[in-house]
């Protein structure tokens, strides 16, 4: 583990991220891309009816909650886009 300007460099794989989001938001459709092919920079588009009526901040928090504290730690770079 290296503590650098990007934080710890432990990584998570794509399937693991998808699994956690789907566990947290069971009806969600999750599309994940490994942006740099390095297992460390992902983008996820999450579509769920549970986002309906919620602010963007709340929607993103729901995704963060499903990742159980990994966001900002093992998972440094995950760009999130939420859709109702």
């Amino acid at each position: 583990m290296v503590e650098g300007i990007y934080g710890t460099t432990m990584t998570m794989n794509l399937e693991e991220i998808e699994k956690l989001i789907k566990e947290g938001l069971p009806d969600a459709t999750v599309e994940i891309q490994d942006l740099a092919g390095d297992g460390n920079h992902y983008s996820a588009t999450v579509t769920s009816t549970q986002f309906s009526g919620k602010s963007k901040i709340e929607q993103h928090k729901m995704v963060y909650n499903s990742l159980k504290g990994k966001m900002g730690n093992e998972l440094h770079a995950l760009a999130i886009k939420t859709k109702e």
Partner: protein, 114 residues
Amino acid sequence: MEQQTNDLIKKEIENNEICLFMKGTPDAPQCGFSMAVSNMLKILEVNFKGVNVLENEHLRQGIKKFSDWPTIPQLYIKKEFIGGCDIIKEMYENGELVKLLESKNINFKKKLII
């Protein structure tokens, strides 16, 4: 220490209408996400304070707790938490950021999007 950090965060938010907690500075961002938000504000010619969380580990962790948000950068406008990089980028692209600045009476330069 936690109280001190919270006071520091509150002071920054109260003293700066637009306050961006970021990694690095607006002139020398140390992370792509921080750079992206900083650049969007620069393009709109918004006067903002960049607070470098890398200078203070307590601040770096404290701001995540304070906002209940796990990542940096974090943008505050008139004491309100607006979001992180993804949300600001989306708002910049769909015009909501400009609308928000207008509604909060923040000076910025309107750009013609051609």
